[in-house]
Symmetry: C2
């Protein structure tokens, strides 16, 4: 016998969907209750601190999933350019799969951080830092600082492409960013090429 | 004798500030009235269609100002790399000047587009298209399609860097993006270098 997920889980999943759609403004208690189908009375039982607590837990759960997503997409490429191409192709499929209605919850919440939610900034900053470290671990551009900076650029491009994709209802900005950013690491491919190894 | 700006102008300026801060969710009629100091009774006199009309006019006015801003920043550089550097240095100063509290209104509204505001999407799309054409007009990367694509990448980087700058309360993501993206057009500089001209 399968059981439906407990209401706490359903509320977190609903919060993630709502945050990815329109940030904090769309993820109020009422919207989360409606979207999750969980009984309203259980909200403060599961989340005594209310909206801030749900948002913080939803963002942390979302960030850990994105970490896996990024890791899988990058691991699918063997060379630096193949990794960049794989990452942006995966992002293009990802935004398309939501019909351009959802993007990165860290991005939506950052542009929508209500003054009384300021403590969520810690989750935003640590999520971005974890993603940047993970992305950097897939590249070696000669020195650690440059590699970390390149990982930061990839995150910048992802957050920005999401905006253009949603406005234009097209995955093209991800494809475009992927093509350009491979050019920045093309010499990393040749460094590992047979020609170089046999030199 | 100087007169205070008419309330219509003050409402539009207030709407732009609020949209740049947190998108549509923060730019309700009440917030615009409070922020502008304009009499509430005058809102529907000046904007018979209410919030949608104010938002549409504010976004169009904002977009035309950004067009000038981009044009000035790009014109300050003579070579392709100088143009990219100048653009991202100007963006870094711009986000710093708002203490990381405001970003691009097109970005905030895109991630916050309420279903009943769908008609604003036209303003978002046309603003991005105008900016892309303006940015492209400052570069010549050999063929028009590639030049236009590079302009798109610059807009992607600007929108994404804004998110990271606001989350991290730092202008570093703009500086970082500027450094990397100059590498993509470095050969455009040498094409115009004295060495090449004397060849």
């Amino acid at each position: 016998m399968s059981h439906p997920p407990p209401s706490r889980d359903r509320m977190l999943e609903a919060a993630i969907r709502l945050l990815r759609t329109s940030g904090l403004s769309g993820a109020g208690i009422n919207e989360i209750v409606r979207e999750s189908g969980a009984p309203k009375g259980s909200v403060y039982h599961h989340f005594p601190d209310g909206k801030t607590q749900i948002a913080a837990e939803a963002l942390a759960l979302y960030a850990s999933r994105v970490l896996s997503f990024l890791d899988t997409a990058l691991a699918a490429g063997r060379t630096p350019t193949a990794k960049v191409r794989s990452l942006f192709a995966a992002m293009a499929r990802r935004v398309e799969s939501t019909a351009f209605a959802q993007s990165c919850a860290i991005g939506t919440v950052t542009l929508d951080l209500e003054p009384d939610m300021e403590l969520l900034r810690g989750v935003l900053v640590s999520s971005l830092a974890e993603w940047q470290a993970l992305v950097a671990s897939h590249f070696d551009l000669g020195d650690a600082r440059r590699t970390r900076s390149f990982a930061g650029l990839l995150l910048t491009a992802i957050e920005g492409a999401y905006i253009r994709c949603r406005a234009e209802r097209s995955a093209a900005p991800f494809v475009e960013a992927g093509k350009w950013l491979t050019e920045l690491v093309a010499d990393g491919d040749s460094r590992r090429s047979p020609r170089r190894l046999s030199a």
